[in-house]
């Protein structure tokens, strides 16, 4: 197999408050390369196309099996996990940029604390008495309902949907698609639904469901193909019902 060189452009940033700049690199190609393995090769020999030796590119990665969510970045303008971005399938020069909408820590490393905050805000958990055995499990869940729930439980907080969403970002309080989809998941659990009202109230105010502009970008970029817009649609119905309950009587 002939080794063709790979041309890489990386948007770099030294500190959270410093301006970004571009650097270009050329590396020997290898048929197996994905973007993470490429950056690993680069850090052993971080020299730009102009021959300048620079600090290795800083980025986040861990499992490299597209299940931990760490390594998401903007690759040729598309937010996606970099471990599963095979170099052979990418147009060159390959442009790597930090995941937009989140504060840059350094280079391609971003701070996704806002996803975590969103999950707290919507109470994305099932309240249980404690982590001890109560000698029974949860109520049964039919296989069809399980299949629908399972889609949402695979969300790995990579932030791609948030990065692609025009409504989410430093300019707005919008929770974004990932935490909203967890409301859909928790409200479907047979005991999780006991707190459905609190979760729905958490998404009925500012920054909640009504801030969704229905651009549908989220569902297009989700690496796990989670039906985020379906969840948002279902939550629209749930919040409408909740609104009537709030108006006309105790629920």
């Amino acid at each position: 197999m002939t080794e063709q060189s790979i041309h890489l452009r990386v948007r770099r940033q030294d500190r959270p408050d410093s301006p970004s700049y571009w650097q270009e690199f050329k590396l020997p190609g290898h048929p197996d390369h994905n973007v993470v393995s490429l950056l690993m090769a680069l850090r052993e020999h971080p020299v730009t196309t102009t021959g300048e030796r620079v600090d290795p590119v800083v980025w986040d990665h861990n499992c490299m099996e597209e299940v931990c969510g760490s390594c998401a970045m903007l690759i040729n303008g598309v937010p996606r996990p970099s471990c599963s971005a095979l170099v052979a399938s990418l147009t060159q020069p390959i442009r790597l940029e930090p995941l937009p909408k989140f504060p840059v820590v350094r280079d391609l490393l971003v701070d996704r604390t806002r996803i975590d905050e969103g999950l707290k805000q919507v109470k994305a958990w099932v309240r249980i008495d404690g982590l001890w055995d109560i000698h029974e499990g949860a109520p049964r869940i039919g296989p069809n309902e399980w299949a629908a729930n399972y889609l949402y439980s695979r969300c790995m907080s990579c932030g791609c949907c948030m990065a692609a969403c025009p409504q989410f970002g430093p300019h707005s309080d919008f929770l974004g698609p990932a935490p909203l989809a967890q409301v859909r998941l928790m409200n479907a659990h047979p005991t999780g639904r006991y707190d459905a009202r609190e979760r729905l109230h958490a998404i009925m105010g500012d920054g909640g469901l009504s801030d969704c502009g229905q651009a549908q970008n989220c569902v297009r970029v989700c690496p796990k193909e989670i039906p985020l817009t379906t969840a948002i649609g279902e939550l629209g119905r749930q919040t409408t019902v909740q609104m009537f309950k709030d108006l006309f009587g105790p629920s």
């Binding site: 030294d14 500190r15 048929p31 197996d32 390369h33 994905n34 993470v36 393995s37 690993m40 850090r43 052993e44 600090d55 290795p56 986040d60 990665h61 861990n62 499992c63 490299m64 099996e65 299940v67 931990c68 969510g69 760490s70 471990c83 599963s84 095979l86 399938s89 820590v105 350094r106 490393l109 975590d116 999950l119 109470k123 994305a124 958990w125 099932v126 309240r127 249980i128 404690g130 982590l131 055995d133 109560i134 029974e136 499990g137 949860a138 049964r140 869940i141 039919g142 296989p143 399980w146 729930n149 399972y150 439980s153 695979r154 790995m156 907080s157 998941l185 928790m186 005991t191 999780g192």
Partner: protein, 627 residues
């Protein structure tokens, strides 16, 4: 000091379970993690988690789960903790279910169970093909709830550097580093729980583990006096897929459904695989193991691949890979049966295994060894609930759980027991810590401020030394050399001369690390510095693995040293004089080697001694016989 507090280091399954159990008891937990806890390596476990529910009409029993776990580990695990873990497994599953974990269901809406390697009954709960991810998220959500109530304080993006011990040697806190600012500071606590995961990165890139599974934290505890146990036992998964960054697991199901493993008979044959005629293919598992063929056990398969590629020189293109071939099977059949796992290969290798053979090799998967932890035996043969000794290391006030401890798997781990041991040990460690805290009478004197300041200054000095280092070395290249060395000489098949040379090469790697040069690097979020520090501790850990392997002159579980193999004489059976003579040799070997390896740190290298294994429930009477 008012209310006692606890530090938990690591936010995988073990660490999060410990965190919740301690917080549930009313104590504040400070949780440190290298990254957001939900990105921990627990998410990588795909297959499932074992618990006897006996819902499949097979008369499965907890007793059988205990026996399978003990025999799978070739009797090297202490039996009381294994017994209690297997007994408590169904309760853990019920608790996970209450948290909302999306376990796969039967048509009746109950938890489904599947068959897994090494056992005869369906005993494995699963959540699609992402069980570990689902279990971790379940506990992550509970921790987030406690965090929102102020009962857990998370410090993500902090790295554990060292333990703080008072004048009596009791662990009273840690020193840690902010991975962004590189600020080094002390965190004080009344107890510390290490839940820092495995050490597969010693074998990188030929490992299925995440890049943060370095073992550095366990190594740091070891260098401060904590014992490491059974470090030489490392499970290699035979079928991991190609990758320069890491190797990704290819499920055993691919062999189970009819996949065949082969190499071309001619060394270095570079023809496309599908053009190589049948007669020129070497289906070596089928030739070596006529009865089991391609479905032979994990360790046997890994050793056969090792023999064919390393000793016979028949690896693909002269390398270390072999083919795992599904192309002879019906395409619709394999797509239905193996769809999800084949998708992983397509995604990461960019090749369709339905039409092209996969290229695979054995990869370091799970370390059975780790920090030594104690237990207290109860009258019923299990462990005593709530004893302060359970999961306590030999350093007072320091506990360990999850893959970084050594407690449940002996010489080899049963499939789908890792998520179980991580969860169970986290729960038990948490409960032990609660007992430990409740046992304090009155207040203890604080740790002397000068001791704390000295340790912080020492750690800052280590950072400075790296920043000011001069030379031509790059830590990432040294890491590659470490992985290659460990794979070649402390891997699937071991021999004493190679182990000795590995130990001397490890010393050279440590010396090269003194000559790492980052130039005038930007110190903000300096990943290279962080990694160089981890790498030094990984090399120290690798010495323990190699030293333990050198000292142990036998074959047991994942530790395979052919010069000391004790094969059953062919064609003999119990009662035959030849078999009975063999049985006597086997018993003599157990008498000498059925012992826990314990390594203690000294400046000139690890010192090893052995400890008796608690065999009080099922003493070994018969050799393993798979004929």
């Amino acid at each position: 000091m008012s209310q006692p507090s606890v530090i938990v280091v690591g936010g995988g399954l073990g660490g999060l379970w410990a965190t919740v159990r301690i917080a549930d008891a009313g104590f504040t937990v400070t949780l440190l993690s290298l990254f957001e806890v939900k990105r921990s390596h627990s998410v990588c476990a795909q297959g499932g988690v074992n618990a006897v529910l006996d819902t499949k009409g097979q008369h499965d029993s907890v007793r059988q789960h205990i026996i399978d776990t003990i025999k799978g580990g070739e009797y090297l695990a202490n039996q009381p903790p294994v017994k209690s873990m297997c007994e408590d497994a169904p309760g853990l599953i019920r608790t996970f279910e209450r948290m909302g974990v999306t376990f796969s269901r039967t048509p009746e809406g109950l938890l489904d169970q599947r068959l897994f390697g090494g056992v005869k009954n369906k005993r494995t709960c699963f959540a699609g093909a992402s069980t570990g991810q689902q279990l971790l998220y379940g506990v992550d959500q509970q921790v987030r709830r406690l965090e929102s109530e102020g009962r857990v304080i998370k410090h993500e993006w902090w790295e554990f550097l060292s333990l703080l011990r008072d004048e009596a040697g009791v662990c009273r806190g840690i020193v840690a580093m902010d991975l962004r600012s590189l600020e080094v500071r002390a965190f004080m606590a009344d107890a510390v729980v290490m839940a820092t995961g495995g050490m597969g990165q010693l074998y990188a890139p030929k490992t299925t583990t995440s890049t943060n599974s370095t073992g550095a934290a366990a190594s740091r505890c070891y260098q401060q006096g904590a014992w490491l146990a059974n470090a030489e036992f490392f499970q290699f998964h035979p079928t991991a897929m190609i990758g320069h960054d890491k190797t990704r697991l290819m499920s055993e199901a691919a062999r189970g459904e009819g996949g065949r493993i082969w190499v071309p008979r001619t060394p270095g044959d570079r023809r496309p695989p599908r053009t190589i005629p049948e007669v020129e293919r070497f289906y070596f598992l089928e030739e070596f193991f006529p009865t089991y063929g391609n479905t032979v056990a994990r360790d046997e398969a890994a050793r056969a691949i090792w023999t064919v590629t390393q000793e016979m020189g028949l690896g693909l293109g002269g390398g270390d890979r072999v083919y795992l071939d599904l192309t002879h099977l019906d395409q619709a059949f394999i797509s239905t049966r193996l769809g999800a796992i084949l998708e992983i290969y397509r995604k990461f290798a960019g090749v369709d295994p339905v039409t092209e053979p996969m290229e695979i090799f054995p990869a370091a998967h799970y370390g059975m060894g780790g920090l030594w932890v104690d237990f207290e035996r109860a009258a019923d043969g299990g462990i005593a609930n709530g004893s302060v000794r359970n999961h306590a290391t030999n350093i007072p006030g320091l506990y360990a759980c999850g893959e970084c401890d050594y407690a449940y798997h002996g010489a080899n781990r049963l499939g789908a027991n890792s998520l179980l041991s991580a969860s169970y040990s986290g729960r038990v460690a948490g409960e032990s810590v609660v007992s430990y805290l409740k046992g304090f009478a009155g207040t203890r004197p604080g740790v002397r401020e000068d001791l704390i300041a000295d340790e912080v200054a020492r750690q800052q000095g280590l950072n400075r030394a790296i920043q000011e280092g001069q030379g031509s070395e790059c830590p990432y290249r040294i890491h590659q050399d470490l992985g290659a060395l460990m794979t070649a000489k402390v891997g699937v098949v071991r021999a004493n001369p190679q182990l000795e040379s590995a130990l001397s090469e490890l010393r050279q790697l440590a010396e090269r690390l003194d000559r790492v040069d980052f130039g005038a690097a930007n110190p903000w979020a300096h990943q290279g510095l962080v990694f160089a520090r981890q790498l030094r501790d990984m090399i120290t850990l690798a010495k323990v693995v190699a030293q333990g392997a050198l000292a142990r002159d036998e074959c047991r579980g994942a530790h395979y040293k052919p010069a000391f193999a004790l094969p059953i004489p062919a064609g003999t059976f119990p009662g035959d004089p030849a078999f009975e003579a063999y049985r006597a040799r086997w018993q003599e070997n157990n008498h000498q080697w059925l012992k826990t390896t314990i390594a203690e740190h000294h400046d000139d290298g690890p010192r090893i001694h052995y400890q008796e294994v608690d065999l009080s429930l099922f003493p070994p009477t018969d050799p393993r016989d798979y004929r």
